[in-house]
């Protein structure tokens, strides 16, 4: 049931820490929260659709656009040769807006059509014929490995002597694991609306997590200074990383047409095109070797992680790095050799997706732990406990960061006790003994996730706060709202600082004209960075107000306090609104910017050493599944989660992130499977073939708890912790529980389950065991 404030454990008078509804919730349920395609179109708006390559690799011989131009409704067709600055990209400009001379993946845009309606533009695009001389594509990771097709040098992270340690170990295992990718399937597909204003200037409404990057790329493509372009993002209909880089192409194409025609230009991708054109979560193949003692304590570990990056760089270097940063998860690895390879393939360029490589690294190590447990015939939770990072010793990561905030031991213990892990394990063993065809599985898995952008310079943010004469407050900051509840959290911070009700604070669309050079809203950092920046802005205004009060009322600084919608002035008080009015008359500056940059972090990417993370977020999850060994079908029956969000800014929002992240992670590891044919054509291009979790997949027993009375030991915004990404990885326990159930078919024999664990894969995994 829905929780009351009491159940959330919040009873203070502060606005921060309260379970406040999403700022747009009422608009959402009335259907009156506008997304890009809902904005009232300016008169004369024209629409863009794309013609795509239907082969994965080849040379373009010709592009026939005549049939398309014959349609009365068509204005023009844009080809690569018409674009002066053709290439864009997040880190390197290695992605052509439209394919030139060669196509590098199935679904690459070759031409863009401008017409009087979305439907007509699509029709016209479908009439474009692209003649391509096909070349042999490299699609899979093994193909890329064989042909040594890599984007860059491997990334190596080492600690101690892994090889030596493994050779001395009593027990050794080697193995492989393949991990599938994941389509973002944000419900709102990529979209942009470009409106010419005056001169060369443009205002762009973009569904992006990264308005500044869109602004900078559009300026680059149009050869204009960045100040000529304003990018506005009020909200996205989901993003999950897919709109960190993925929004740029469509925005740039709209901008080019807008500049050429001086007309408003809109485009939104039909679902199929969106799934074909945009990158996904990286799929990985992992090769590993581990040496361990009788207790399952890892003495040495070697992991080679091969990531399918697609045809261009995108953010792959950072993503593969984050996979390595999380290949320890919550475990102390005394000797480790972790290597990440960036496979270059003829597929869409894989990109950011909630967790950003972390989930793949974490699944790799969790699979090894599970294999160790099976090898030694131990309970996997006991093996986990033996390997957990400790507080005083055994607390250095493979990249040299000392873990100072470790709570994983007690958190896992608390969960295992409250969810009766041990008793259930016995029950399940008993059940499995007595049942031939139906088997149950159980797993507890931990999450330790590093918070901060690993590129240091991205860890900065700005905010802008205005207090109007009537005491109402306008808030703007560099973060974007994609559903995660960032806007309400930052508004809570501002309301709290001024001691007013949340309703006093108006959150506004993110705009590059208000806060410049912002980082993407990503890496779970939204509230950490923007919350702090907004708080700084409030403090600057409050300082102005306090100085004024001290003078005006002849009181001490510390006697001025803001709470209960009042300004407390020593023994007296005045309603906030009235006080603001008074301050205005007395010429007090009532607006300010604010700024924040994360302290303490540093990282040497040559030595692969440093402190890339300000702090870690922790969590643990117990999942139980039941498997039909005759068909490979399974059902997740029970989930218990205990998750650390520090001192929650908003438990309702955090709870939503935990539950939603978990289910999204479950989709990645269970039913969501991307399928390409041998020629590199993506076959899963819609929800009818690509299966996200649906409502019935939500486990019936779903007990989610935020770790109570917990606060971040670093000075984050109100001692809270980031929550966007970490909960996704709680779902690894589902996959482990399936693996556990499979092994019970053959007295705990190790098995070769891969991800995603589709019913078919589970079926064959069981068959292999029975052979």
């Amino acid at each position: 049931m829905t929780k009351t404030d009491k159940e959330w454990g919040t009873d203070s008078n502060r606005v921060v820490g309260q379970a406040m509804a999403h700022d747009s919730s009422i608009l959402h349920v009335k259907g009156s929260a506008p997304y890009i395609d809902d904005i009232v179109e300016p008169k004369g708006t024209m629409h863009v659709a794309f013609a795509l390559s239907d082969v994965a690799h080849g040379n373009i011989k010709s592009i026939e656009i005549k049939e398309s131009l014959k349609m009365d409704c068509v204005h023009s067709v844009l080809l690569a040769e018409d674009i002066k600055n053709l290439n864009i990209g997040a880190i390197r400009h290695d992605e052509p807006l439209l394919a030139k001379d060669e196509v590098l993946f199935h679904g690459q845009a070759v031409a863009a059509v401008l017409a009087d309606s979305h439907e007509n533009a699509r029709k016209a695009a479908s009439l474009i014929r692209v003649n391509i001389e096909e070349l042999e594509p490299l699609i899979t990771i093994p193909q890329a490995k064989l042909k040594e097709s890599f984007l860059d040098e491997p990334i190596k992270m080492t600690k101690g002597d892994a090889e030596g340690a493994i050779s001395k170990s009593v027990h050794k295992i080697t193995g492989k694991l393949s991990i599938g990718g994941q389509e973002h399937y944000y419900l709102e597909s990529q979209a942009a609306l470009a409106i010419p204003t005056e001169g060369d200037e443009l205002v762009l409404h973009s569904s992006t997590q990264n308005p500044s990057e869109v602004q900078h790329l559009v300026a680059h493509v149009l050869d204009l200074p960045q100040h000529s372009i304003e990018v506005v993002t009020r909200r996205m209909g989901g993003a999950f990383g897919g709109k960190e880089c993925g929004a740029s192409q469509i925005a740039c194409i709209c901008a080019i047409f807008a500049q050429k025609t001086k007309l408003p230009i809109k485009s939104r991708l039909p679902r199929r095109e969106d799934m074909l054109m945009t990158g996904k979560r990286h799929d990985f193949e992992v090769e590993y070797k581990a040496g361990f003692d009788d207790e399952g304590c890892i003495e040495g570990i070697e992991m080679e992680l091969y990531a399918r990056c697609g045809y261009s760089y995108d953010l792959s270097v950072a993503i593969v790095s984050r996979a390595l940063f999380h290949a320890d998860n919550a475990y102390y690895l005394p000797n480790a050799s972790l290597v990440g390879h960036l496979c270059k393939t003829n597929t869409a360029s894989n990109t950011a997706f909630r967790g950003f490589g972390g989930p793949q690294g974490m699944l790799a190590i969790e699979n090894i732990i599970e294999e160790i447990a099976l090898h030694l015939n131990l309970d996997a939770y006991d093996v986990r406990k033996s390997n957990f990072y400790q507080k005083e010793a055994n607390n250095e990561t493979p990249y040299g960061q000392l873990i100072e905030d470790n709570i994983i031991n007690e958190l896992a213990h608390e969960l295992a006790t409250s969810a009766r892990y041990k008793e259930r394990r016995l029950d399940i063993d008993e059940f499995n003994k007595n049942n031939t065809y139906i088997k149950k599985g159980l797993a507890l898995s931990p999450v330790k996730f590093g918070i901060s952008f690993t590129k240091k310079f991205l860890n900065q943010a700005g905010a802008l706060v205005h207090v109007y004469k009537d005491g109402s407050i306008y808030l703007n900051h560099g973060g974007t709202e994609m559903g995660q509840g960032l806007f309400v959290k930052v508004a809570q911070v501002v309301a709290n600082e001024f001691g007013v009700e949340l309703g006093k604070v108006k959150v506004s669309a993110t705009s590059t004209a208000k806060v410049p050079n912002t980082s993407a809203t990503a890496a779970s950092s939204g509230s950490d960075l923007n919350g702090m920046a907004a708080k700084d802005a409030c403090n600057r205004i409050k300082n102005n107000l306090i100085s004024f009060a001290v003078k005006q009322f002849n009181i001490k600084q510390e006697d001025v306090k803001f709470y209960d919608s009042q300004v407390h002035l020593g023994a007296n008080q005045m309603p906030f609104d009235e006080f603001i009015g008074l301050a205005y008359i007395n010429r007090v500056e009532l607006f300010s910017n604010g700024y924040y940059s994360t302290p303490k972090i540093h990282y040497d990417s040559n030595k692969r050493r440093g402190r890339p993370f300000y702090y870690y977020s922790y969590g643990a999850c117990i999942s139980e599944v039941v498997v039909d060994t005759l068909t490979g079908e399974y059902k997740l029956t029970s989930v218990d989660i205990l998750h650390d969000v520090g001192a929650s800014l908003n438990p309702a929002i955090d709870y939503g992130q935990i539950v939603g992240g978990f289910v999204q992670g479950m989709g990645w590891l269970c039913s969501e499977e991307l399928v390409w044919d041998d020629s590199g054509k993506l076959l899963t291009t819609g929800a009818s073939t690509y299966k996200l979790p649906s409502i019935g997949d939500t486990p019936k027993h779903f007990n989610v708890k935020i770790k109570p009375n917990n606060s971040n030991h670093e000075e984050t915004i109100y001692k809270s912790k980031a929550v966007g990404e970490p909960p996704l990885m709680l779902a690894i326990s589902v996959w482990l529980a399936i693996k556990n159930a499979i092994s019970s078919v053959k007295d705990g024999k190790p098995n070769d389950l891969v991800a995603p664990a589709s019913f078919e894969r589970v079926f064959f995994c069981i068959n292999n065991l029975n052979k």
Partner: protein, 491 residues
């Protein structure tokens, strides 16, 4: 062409509209942008609205509220109905109970799927008085949410019904009788034909109520496209960008909407929706219920018809294998001629059937099981809800006392058409109760089928899992229960 829209007092009267236009296109072009497009294929539910339709229960006219995927519905099919969208359920600042429950339970995050969920919940609210998790899942089976993990939405659904009696005070509950009257009024003289001309291309839309008129029209215009629920044809418009020149809607043909039942058979009109046929089908064949629950999603079941499902000739189709195993027959009509065809003889090859030009399916007749007969259906898909089968298997066993006399087994997903597995049937009949039944079944299946490797499953999985489904059927018959995990299970 008239329909009621939200809380508008006057019906919407559409004189100029392309019959190929979808409801979603009409809504969004007219600035009703609360209803979203997520996939334009009836898979995600972001476009869900509700249709209020007149029904007669115990001689009394009432309104039945049914969720619908507006992205694949034709705007002309709204004739005589009440279209309700997310913008039309609150009154001023007063939210509808389902909206306030969604707010209270934090049921929205990015908000893009929210209007669809709100409308599916709206239909649930106005059709049901009591609720359980099964009903919630059923009502929301056609709505995908990528943010919330669904739990907060499930919480909202329970919340709605916690307070339903006390604040049953929304526009639709308060204006029941007026709404019935308005619907009766706009249904008084149903126009049966509509034509539209654009760029010199004439598009005709017929909506006959009399089966003889339908037969005549289709005989005359043999290239016309028959549509009812539009759940498949809609895809041709939104995904393949097709435009049809002549559409005949059979949704109002009285004779094709009727159901007859006697002791030995049931006859279902081809234009009866799965949702309408549910109760009757399940009463006669309780084993069909788990399959019906997983047949597409609630909004699809509300409108998809059994006749359309069959005429479509999908290699999978879900219901055809079950109906083949039950030895269903079809009544086909062309002009004045009516012929009967066994369903197992209806499909010829991929998407091809024995239907002639100008011919249509009038009804489906299913003989009831007699003593000694038993029936089982299995469905294997990637996801339990709203997914196309990798394999759908239906088995009718005919016993003579304790001995198995005959097995009728039909499968979907194994070949280019749904069909019987004749070798498998022989094997099952001969070796039933033998330990190695799965292995023998596998060998026979390999003779019966040469299934494809595709996005849903590999050929080998299809063969092996089908063989195991035979074994599973046997185990369940001899009381070694192997549960269907798609069904709710007790821990």
């Amino acid at each position: 062409m008239r329909f009621l829209f939200n809380q508008h007092k006057e019906p919407i009267d559409l004189a100029e509209v392309n019959p190929n236009m979808t409801v979603l296109q009409w809504l969004r072009r007219n600035k009703h942008t609360g209803t979203k497009e997520g996939c334009a294929a009836g898979d995600c539910g972001a476009c869900t609205a509700v249709i209020g339709e007149l029904a007669t229960i115990k001689g009394k006219k009432v309104i039945e509220y049914k969720s619908i995927n507006t992205c694949i519905s034709l705007v002309l099919n709204l004739n005589g109905k009440h279209l309700i969208t997310v913008e039309g359920i609150s009154e001023g600042n007063r939210l509808h109970p389902v909206q306030s429950a969604m707010v209270r339970a934090n049921g929205s995050q990015c908000g893009f799927c929210t209007p669809g969920f709100v409308m599916s919940l709206f239909a649930l609210y106005h059709n049901e008085n009591e609720i359980d998790l099964d009903k919630i899942n059923e009502a929301l089976s056609g709505n995908l949410c990528r943010c919330t993990g669904y739990q907060p939405i499930i919480d909202a659904a329970f919340l709605i019904f916690e307070t339903k009696d006390s604040d049953n005070n929304d526009y639709f509950s308060n204006n029941k009788s007026q709404l019935v009257q308005s619907l009766v009024r706009i249904n008084e003289d149903e126009p049966e034909q509509f034509s539209y001309t654009s760029n010199d291309k004439k598009v005709t839309y017929d909506a006959p109520t009399d089966v003889n008129v339908l037969a005549k029209t289709l005989y005359k215009y043999q290239d016309a496209k028959i549509v009812s629920g539009c759940t498949d044809l809609g895809l041709e418009i939104t995904q393949q960008l097709q435009q049809f020149g002549h559409i005949i809607n059979v949704q109002n043909v009285h004779e094709m909407k009727s159901i007859h039942e006697n002791d030995s058979l049931i006859e279902i009109g081809a234009a009866v929706s799965y949702h309408s046929a549910w109760t009757l089908l399940v009463r006669s064949f309780p084993e069909l219920e788990p399959l019906l629950k997983r047949f597409a999603s609630r909004p699809i079941r509300n409108w998809a018809t059994i006749g359309g499902n069959i005429a479509n000739a999908s290699p999978i189709g879900d219901m055809p294998p079950a109906l083949i195993a039950l030895n269903a027959t079809l009544k086909l009509r062309r002009g004045d001629n009516v012929r009967e065809v066994r369903l197992q003889d209806f499909f010829i090859s991929y998407k091809k059937t024995v239907l002639l030009k100008g011919e249509f399916i009038k009804s489906i007749t299913i003989p009831k099981l007699v003593k000694g007969e038993s029936f089982t259906v299995h469905k294997i898909s990637r996801r339990y809800e709203d997914d196309i089968s990798a394999v759908c298997m239906a088995i009718k066993l005919v016993n003579d006392g304790p001995n198995l006399k005959e097995a009728v087994i039909a499968l979907g997903g194994m070949a280019e058409i749904p069909k019987r597995a004749t070798m498998l049937e022989k094997t099952v009949t001969k070796y039933w109760n033998k330990r190695d039944i799965a292995k023998r079944s596998y060998e026979s299946l390999k003779e019966d089928f040469c299934p494809l490797d595709d996005v849903r499953a590999s050929s080998e999985y299809r063969l092996q899992v089908s063989a195991n489904l035979i074994k599973k059927t046997l185990l369940n018959r001899i009381n070694k229960k192997v549960p269907n995990l798609a069904e709710p299970i007790e821990n």
